[in-house]
């Protein structure tokens, strides 16, 4: 994150696929030209040594060839290059090159040619030292306070400091407690070497101490030396910084003191000569290199710190003075003086980008990408806007999205095979006496245009089960046909409330304006045969629940109606037919010989539904085939409400039971957590206290929790079963009311909507309160006796009722009113005399968690609400902080 980027003065790329590290860059007037112009010396791990003398780039031209003074291949990897007074008898600057097993000192000289590009440079080997151990890095300086010459100290990879007095080897010492090499620096003020050891300490060793310690050429000797009383290598001071360091620099503060700068992996330290912290700074990034240099203001030191986020920060002590962006991650940074330019920042990246730059207020040009937008043509835009506005307006008026004729984008058809599967596909069924059959359903999809995200899901009433209920299709070309087949079987031991299945296909149809596509849905229903869940059985004469359906046509032979259930053993009994549902219940169907009546009887009220429905459907089909148009069924007796109420009570009881269990569970959970907390404090105590049977309590509570959870699960199973029965009974009730009052299809639909809400039956919002609210609404609107009744207000929230008496009363009332000729109708103008606001009537409310069902008693609409409470906007910048890497 920076405002500016470093201004490029001169840059080049070195070699191809060469590697560079910290020590590979050095700036000095290496050829002793005496004009104070620095040359850039770069060595690489591939063994190349290059010397540059950059000139400012002329407009239009890249770096010139004569900027490269020298390039030689030294065969061995160059670990570090340094320039100093390394040759005895002269104070000229020489170049020291550290290879892993060799130290070479060269002199660099140039011969002037006639023209500038005629200059020649060469290096001459002055002397070289072969090293016994693999070198790692080196430092140089006037060790021991010698004047006019520089000594070299090389740190080997296994922790030996080797000191060379120019052409001769002086001594070698092992550092104690060494594991991996750290950076090494020499402080002339205190005449000591400073390094960061593997123990994460800054350690300072006096040169004197090193020189006088017993010579140790082998590590074993050093071990013995530790034991013996000889002169041990004693550390001058240490400072624990708690992290490994990347680099160390010594910088003279003033005449009498110098500072030791340590760049750690996460912090940046400035130490006094005696190893105390002058200041430190926590770095919010991963640093890669640093360089302290003198500051303009007194008593402070500036530091350049490069990091792995391509940035170069300049600090004055701890205050950030400048941040600039670099095109690469620098591994080494130096400041130099070239020709007429002072203070040029030279950076080297590990892949060989060498750049000389200076700070400037060039913004780091971040060009925000252009937003994808269309060419602005205001006329066209106006037209389009108007068109869209019109669509929105239409939608608002109609309340629904206008259905354009695009239904044939995708054709869905379902076919149920006429025979049961020869090998049943049923798996995991509940153990029962009968083998469970399955039937194959085939769904065929045919598209007209290209469609995206086509997904088919199939739903059947539980406990019916599908072998697969989700399919995905790919309609990439128009006019494709694909089909899938799956099997349906009865999974549990009770009867489903419906034999109808539903296949829903959702897809999105891309248009030119909306390439993502408009989501659309197509559904297709299919009807499963009765024999899937039912077997022919022995008819029984007696039963507790009986229903009689009247027709206006002469009776039909039951064998003709139910050929698939004909019992071959007793074909003489044409008027009686027995069914055995897979759950075990028996239903008997009787046809009267003389009158036009059919009787259905069973031990369970809810079991009547499927057979009754099947009978009526088959009768209708039969007469349609014969060409009779005016066939109708009717029901005369009173509606069997009592049996129905029993089922409601059973369902409600289970719900109450579930609620109780849940309360118990939450109590136990609270208790469990309380015990846990107690135990936690016990265990944490320094002085262990006896547990006082808390563990037994914990165990007991845990068992209770598990038992309760099991009970809840079992209860839920039973609830599901009971709900399925309740649904069957409700279907039957609606059917009976329809036959009894000869309701039209519209009215039946209203009744179904009221009695069979689409949502799931859950603990929070169950069937009872939903149906009660719906019936109460019907009673207050279209079935109301007087306008006074309409004024009643309902509670706005649906809660689980205390008992079912209110619901029962309402259902009875509903039947009464229907019997007295009430008509079901929900359009407001027909039934309700008053204009009223039906929630969600005019425009669709966006889906809300809490649908308000209250009816408002006030007819006056208030028009103006002055106080516009607008929420203030919420700006927030979520640049996540902390984790940079």
């Amino acid at each position: 994150m920076s405002l500016f980027k470093a201004r490029d003065w001169w840059s080049t790329v070195l070699g191809e696929k060469e590697e560079f590290d910290q020590g590979c860059l050095c700036l000095a007037d290496v050829d002793n030209s005496g004009n104070g112009h620095d040359k850039i010396i770069v060595g690489s791990f591939m063994g190349y040594l290059r010397i540059f003398s950059p000139h400012s780039v002329k407009a239009g031209g890249g770096p010139q060839a004569e900027d490269l003074l020298l390039e030689v291949h030294l065969r061995d990897p160059v670990l570090q290059v340094e320039v100093g007074k390394f040759v005895s008898g002269t104070e000229m600057l020489h170049l020291a090159v550290l290879h892993s097993r060799k130290l070479c000192v060269y002199s660099v000289s140039g011969t002037l040619g006639n023209v500038e590009h005629g200059n020649q440079y060469q290096i001459k080997l002055m002397y070289e030292h072969h090293l016994q151990r693999t070198a790692c890095n080196m430092t140089y300086g006037p060790f021991g306070g010698v004047k006019g010459r520089d000594l070299i100290c090389i740190q080997s990879l296994d922790g030996m400091l080797m000191v060379f007095e120019q052409e001769s080897y002086a001594f070698g010492r092992f550092l104690p407690g060494f594991l991996l090499p750290g950076p090494l620096a020499y402080s002339p003020r205190t005449d000591s070497f400073i390094t960061v050891s593997s123990c994460r300490q800054v350690e300072s060793y006096k040169y004197q101490v090193l020189a006088f310690a017993t010579d140790a050429d082998k590590k074993q000797e050093m071990e013995q030396q530790k034991l013996g009383s000889g002169k041990r290598l004693v550390v001058d001071w240490t400072l624990n910084i708690g992290e490994q360091a990347l680099d160390i620099c010594i910088f003279p503060l003033n005449q009498s003191a110098s500072s030791v700068f340590v760049l750690g992996e996460r912090n940046f330290f400035c130490l006094k000569d005696n190893g105390q912290i002058r200041f430190m700074k926590k770095l919010g990034y991963n640093p890669s290199c640093f360089l302290p240099y003198c500051s303009v203001s007194e008593g402070t030191i500036n530091t350049l710190i490069g990091n792995h986020n391509h940035m170069l920060h300049i600090y004055q002590d701890v205050t950030l003075k400048w941040a600039t962006q670099l095109p690469h991650v620098p591994v080494a940074v130096r400041v130099g003086c070239f020709h007429d330019l002072k203070g040029v920042i030279v950076t080297l990246s590990d892949d060989g980008h060498l750049q000389c730059s200076y700070l400037g207020t060039d913004p780091s040009l971040f060009q925000a990408p252009k937003v994808e937008s269309r060419e602005l043509n205001y006329d066209e835009l106006d037209v389009e806007l108007k068109e869209l506005q019109k669509i929105i307006k239409d939608v608002k008026l109609q309340g629904v999205w206008p259905l354009t004729e695009q239904e044939d984008d995708l054709k869905v058809s379902a076919s149920v095979s006429s025979t049961l599967d020869s090998v049943s596909q049923a798996t995991n069924v509940e153990p029962g006496a009968d083998s469970v059959p399955s039937i194959t359903v085939k769904i065929t999809l045919q598209n007209r245009v290209v469609l995206q995200k086509v997904k088919l899901s199939i739903y059947v009433q539980p406990p019916l089960q599908l072998t697969c209920d989700q399919f995905t299709f790919d309609f990439t070309v128009p006019d494709m046909t694909s089909s899938v087949a799956f099997s349906v079987y009865l999974k549990r031991n009770y009867t489903p409330s419906e034999l109808e299945g539903n296949a829903v296909v959702s897809y999105s149809r891309p248009t030119d304006r909306n390439p993502d596509g408009i989501p659309r849905v197509v559904q297709c229903k299919f009807r499963l045969p009765l024999k899937l869940i039912c077997l022919p059985g022995q008819p029984s004469k007696t039963a507790s629940h009986k229903l009689t359906i009247d027709t206006n046509k002469s009776p039909v032979s039951l064998l003709g109606l139910f050929p698939d259930f004909a019992n071959p053993s007793d074909d003489d009994q044409v008027n009686v037919m027995g069914f055995r549902l897979l759950g075990g219940a028996r239903v008997t169907l009787l046809a009267s010989r003389t009158s036009q009546r059919y009787r259905i009887q069973s031990e369970q009220f809810e079991d009547l539904w499927l057979i009754t429905n099947e009978l009526i459907l088959r009768l209708q089909e039969h007469f349609e085939k014969q060409g009779t148009k005016d066939f109708s069924c009717s029901f005369s007796g009173c509606v069997p409400l009592q049996e129905y109420f029993e089922l409601i009570d059973h369902h409600f009881e289970l719900r109450i039971n579930g609620k109780k269990l849940e309360e118990l569970l939450s109590e136990r959970a609270v208790q469990f957590r309380a015990i846990q907390r107690r135990l936690l404090t016990r265990f944490r105590d320094k002085t262990p206290a006896p547990l006082q049977h808390l563990d037994t309590l914990l165990d007991g509570t845990y068992k209770q929790v598990i038992a309760l959870a099991d009970a809840i699960e079992e209860n839920q199973d039973r609830l599901l079963q009971s709900f399925s029965g309740l649904k069957s009974a409700t279907h039957l009730l609606i059917l009976l009311i329809r036959l009894w009052q000869r309701l039209s299809a519209d009215q039946t639909a209203i009744l179904e909507a009221a009695f069979l809400p689409l949502q799931e039956d859950t603990q929070e919002l169950g069937w009872e309160e939903t149906v009660d609210a719906a019936i109460a609404y019907l009673l207050k609107t279209c079935l109301s006796k007087s306008s006074k009744e309409q004024a009643l207000n309902l509670s706005s929230q649906l809660n689980i009722p205390k008992d079912t008496s209110r619901l029962k009363k309402h259902i009875t009332l509903l039947c009464d009113r229907l019997a007295k000729g009430g008509r079901l109708c929900v359009s407001t103008d027909a039934a309700a005399p008053q204009a009223m606001v039906v929630p969600g009537g005019c425009t669709p409310i966006p889906e809300s968690d809490l649908e308000e069902r209250s009816l408002d008693d006030s007819t006056e609409l208030f028009t103006n609400h002055k106080h516009l409470m607008t929420e203030p906007p919420m700006p927030e910048v979520s640049a996540r902080q902390g984790v940079l890497e």
Binding site: P77, D158, L179, S198, T843, F862, E871, M874, P875, G882
Partner: protein
């Protein structure tokens, strides 16, 4: 070509250049040649070095600075035994944000989060956390803006990092922890520190790390502050805050370091002692003047304590030390925005843009600032960019919501209506959009719809006072005094200083008295 480089040297160089994968691979090759399998032989220093270098490289790959990463999970909140007083004195706790003592913008101007704090300008971990009272509440109330699930455990993140790193070594873990002889390693300080970091950060075995640390600190005769800090870190992760505090304090006595101050302050914050944390930070600032992390810590605490003016002061102090600090710029910017200085806020946000922050939120804020600073030409283009940069549905919803505000501002209620609807399309739980949609419906006279929308809004965000108040007003207008009173009371709980609510309640009480 001449001689090859020593592999250890090359690996060491890779490590310094943060090419950890290359470094680890190279070390693996070296270790294959001369295995150093748990048993260091004294005559094999090279393999020992390679072993520790690999451990360090693997650690650095997954290392994160633990000072910032913290999010309290439910378990920590519910089983919190460190709470001292249930009802702390105002201004001494972070749990109950005190009322605005310093006259910053009120809730009516600056929205608040669920925990009752004004929203801040910078999303950082634990910005949005609040302490729920019970487990049930914790499970039901969403605590981050993005998921409905509360964070289950604070260690979730650490565990994930730990397991992710396992994938890098197909032959199983690099160091088999169960076979380590901790006592032996604790006596080798040069190995122990790197090994400890490996165990803690890479393997995430806090208990084992703690064992190693305690053995090591014993070996160093309790003279190494670093080990104390590490023990403190382990205690902190294990939730033993008081013990952690002791260790950090003892470490500070030995050697004052910035990190130790930060760790100790973190302990105080989780112990809910913001004042102690503040004092500690200030003490740290005496030692390390101008340390950005310490200043930033102070500013964050002030912000959490609802003292936004002090927070802004410290953020300004941060900028004096480090003027590229994104968090400080963003927080000062939002502070200016909510104190009615959109022009000034605009400058801060523009600075962020220049610095290369390029995201949806920034353009959203720029758009808002432009609008309120009457620079209408830039407003819509900013929002256009914000929309194109929106990374998820929630962001897009917020942008549409703010566009709705612009539409309300220019009086185009149709556009506003559509914008709020679009906000809801993107995020169905956008309570503010529900509320504003309700206000628009109310203006059209659709009372029932407005009420339904307001109820939705208030059930989605009970901490906002606006839906409650609006509901109270609507109910009052149509004569439903009882509900109006109930809603007004809820509004008063959410925002006690709201004058209109107080007025309404007074009026309603008069009504009731008359009856």
């Amino acid at each position: 070509m001449g001689s090859e480089m020593e592999p250890l040297l090359r690996a060491w160089s890779y490590f310094r250049r943060r090419k950890f994968q290359l470094c680890a691979d190279l070390c693996t090759q070296m270790l294959e040649k001369s295995p150093y399998d748990q048993e260091p032989a004294p005559d094999l220093p090279v393999s020992q070095a390679a072993w520790i270098l690999k451990a360090r490289a693997l650690t650095e790959m997954v290392y994160i600075d633990e000072i910032d990463v913290d999010q309290e999970g439910i378990a920590e909140m519910i089983l919190d035994e460190n709470a001292i007083a249930q009802v702390p004195r105002p201004g001494t706790s972070l749990k109950l944000p005190g009322t605005n003592q310093t006259g910053g913008p009120t809730q009516a101007v600056r929205p608040i989060t669920q925990a009752g704090r004004p929203i801040t300008g910078f999303l950082r971990p634990s910005t949005q956390s609040g302490r729920p009272g019970t487990m049930e509440q914790a499970i039901r109330t969403p605590r981050t803006a993005y998921t409905a699930r509360p964070i289950t455990s604070s260690s979730g993140r650490f565990v994930r990092l730990g397991t992710a790193s396992m994938l890098t070594s197909p032959d199983g873990p690099f160091i088999n922890l169960s076979r380590l002889n901790l006592t032996k390693y604790s006596q080798k300080p040069k190995l122990a520190k790197a090994l400890f970091e490996y165990i803690l950060h890479h393997e995430n075995d806090v208990k084992m790390a703690l064992d190693l640390a305690s053995l090591s600190t014993e070996y160093s005769q309790y003279k190494d502050w670093w080990w104390k800090v590490q023990i403190g870190k382990c205690y902190y992760r294990l939730g033993m805050y008081r013990e952690a505090e002791k260790q950090f304090k003892s470490a500070l006595k030995q050697q004052e370091m910035v990190d130790t101050f930060l760790y100790l302050a973190k302990v105080y914050i989780i112990l809910d002692q913001p004042v102690t944390a503040l004092n500690l930070f200030k003490q740290g600032l005496d030692k390390f003047p101008g340390e950005v992390t310490l200043l930033c810590g102070i500013a964050r605490i002030y912000e959490e304590m609802n003292n936004s003016s002090s927070a802004a002061e410290y953020y300004k102090e941060v900028l004096k030390q480090d003027n590229t600090h994104v968090e400080a710029i963003a927080c000062i910017g939002s502070n200016h925005f909510y104190s009615d200085q959109p022009e000034v806020a605009l400058r801060f946000y523009r600075r962020l843009l220049q610095m290369g922050v390029y995201n949806c939120q920034l353009f959203n804020n720029l758009g808002l600032c432009c609008f309120y600073a009457q620079q209408y030409d830039m407003t819509l283009t900013s929002f256009e960019r914000a929309l194109s940069l929106a990374e998820n549905e929630e962001e897009a919803a917020d942008v549409w919501y703010n566009l709705g505000h612009i539409a309300v501002g220019i009086g185009d209620t149709n556009l506003a209506h559509q914008c709020f609807r679009l906000a809801l399309v993107h995020n169905n739980h956008h309570a503010e959009a529900y509320n504003n949609l309700a206000v628009l419906e109310m203006r059209k006279g659709h009372v029932e719809q407005a009420r339904a929308l307001l109820q939705t809004a208030s059930s989605l965000a009970p901490h906002m006072y606006e839906p409650h108040f609006n509901f109270a007003t609507v109910s009052d207008k149509i004569g439903d005094l009882q509900r109006s009173y109930v809603a007004a009371q809820k509004s008063e709980v959410a925002f006690p200083e709201h004058v209109d609510t107080q007025h309404l309640i007074k009026q309603l009480k008069q009504h009731f008295a008359m009856l």
